[in-house]
Symmetry: C2
């Protein structure tokens, strides 16, 4: 089944201790859409400026991403610039130019309104609401977020949570939202705010699911070198939702493997700058790492 | 088969945000020995002062720990006092009184010298050497360490590594030892220093094994409340070595399950002050959590 993804579509200038790469294709929706495209047809909702490189439109198209919901507006594409520390765990934002994103109002083509699977990738909660408002009853809705929205749009986010089936956030955001130090206590509190499935991401330590079938400890695929972790979280949730949308059977039955697939796509994301590595893999590369993860966790 | 354990035997005064407990039974050897005792007969090598409470000797005996290698010397028992921060991840040492530990020279009774399994729990590397020097050819030797020895006894530790089958350390110690940020690169370097099995502990994120059979991602048992993590690492390695010593078949075949058992015993350790909780469980409680971990990680 098809998957609708809304989120940011951006140009990322990324600095790591080893290299500097200006104006790569980035944004939560770009990473999530490419990740999901390995599994299911994706409909992208986003906005870019007139400066958006044609090669990136071609990249989306190569991944068979439906661009009829991508607005191209006069002005500049959202530009983010950030720098990673040596250990690649901490990053700081150097610059944020919103450009056309400032006035972005997601508009769904009629054909998109009945999409059964919806991923509200990281973007202002008001825009996530706005997408849901335009949809007929989707089968499964997941949303990601970031610390910024907890700081400046908490009310919108709290209103969003009851509208979700699945909420994905990282450990520090979970702490910020619930004031709980313990990850399992935090998930309990988040369930009470609405979503039936709660996933807490822990970077290279993997992620944890709390669901009607209990908890699942999802490993990260072990990487010997991390080139650029930007977009890893978006790739994780994109891959996961893509797998869920594509796979027959109940959500409950497929959820754990969906997270494993997400985890594997995220591992490829970390191995290159921006989407460099992810756009070069094939489904068979993903399957190989899924099998490896099976071996790595079996006891 | 029997397991010889050397390490510290101490009285721990532990402060957490919720409570304060003076002079609990502690020390790396105490935690490791009790953890291992659920699986195999344990021979303890250590030293205590004349002030060592009789109830703690009785506790060791209840766990059928052989105390013929425990020296009781004139003077005071090693006393450590520490305080945990709210999130229970960071702790600071308030006080260290070495007492009889200052002049400790481990002496192995003849009956101990042929123990097939040896755990050199956290203690000065010179003392770990001294124990190995007294042994005939043990089948499997594992050692734990701490940042202190990396700082003040690195040479002794580097001389120890080629004498080990298995070396266990935590992520920050691995970074300190190898200067590698990546956990897998760090393990590669540590293999070159000697041990065939390298385990890096990551606290509540579980642990990673690097071995001749490849890597294993070992989960931590999920805890909703952590009372006192002191001794969790010692319990992990104690439980692991106890299971290895007790279980038929090759070390390679048993290693992953051994880590899982260690992980489970460590989870009980965290649920009480000192050894309070660990000493109240039965083997069936351990088996129950091992089964739960199977469910929590299956996909």
């Amino acid at each position: 089944m098809s998957l609708l993804i809304v989120g940011s579509t951006a140009l990322d200038s990324i600095k790591t201790p080893k290299a500097e790469n200006p104006r790569l294709l980035g944004g939560s929706a770009s990473h999530a859409a490419v990740a999901a495209s390995f599994f299911t047809p994706v409909k992208l909702i986003g906005v870019v400026g007139e400066d958006f490189p044609k090669k990136y439109l071609a990249l989306y198209r190569r991944h068979k991403i439906d661009l009829s919901g991508l607005q191209i507006l006069p002005g500049k594409t959202f530009h983010w610039s950030g720098e990673y520390e040596v250990n690649m765990n901490n990053r700081r934002t150097l610059l944020t130019e919103l450009g056309v994103f400032e006035k972005f109002s997601p508009h769904l083509p009629d054909a998109h309104k009945a999409s059964p699977f919806v991923l509200l990738a990281n973007i202002a909660p008001a825009l996530q609401h706005h997408v849901l408002d335009q949809m007929s009853r989707p089968k499964f809705v997941a949303a990601d977020t970031m610390d910024l929205w907890l700081n400046i749009a908490l009310e919108d986010l709290l209103r969003l949570l009851p509208r979700l089936d699945c909420f994905v956030l990282n450990d520090s955001e979970a702490h910020q939202l619930t004031k709980e130090d313990n990850i399992f206590s935090a998930m309990k509190k988040i369930h009470k705010l609405g979503p039936k499935y709660v996933i807490i991401k822990k970077g290279s330590h993997g992620s944890i699911l709390s669901s009607p079938r209990g908890h699942f400890i999802c490993p990260a695929y072990p990487l010997h070198t991390v080139c650029d972790p930007t977009g890893a979280g978006d790739s994780f949730v994109g891959g996961m939702m893509g797998y869920l949308a594509a796979t027959r059977g109940t959500i409950d039955n497929n959820f754990r493997r969906a997270m494993i697939y997400g985890s594997v796509v995220a591992s490829f994301c970390c191995e290159g700058f921006g989407l460099d590595r992810t756009t070069r893999i094939k489904r068979t590369d993903i399957e190989k790492r899924v099998k490896e993860l099976e071996k790595l966790t079996k006891f």
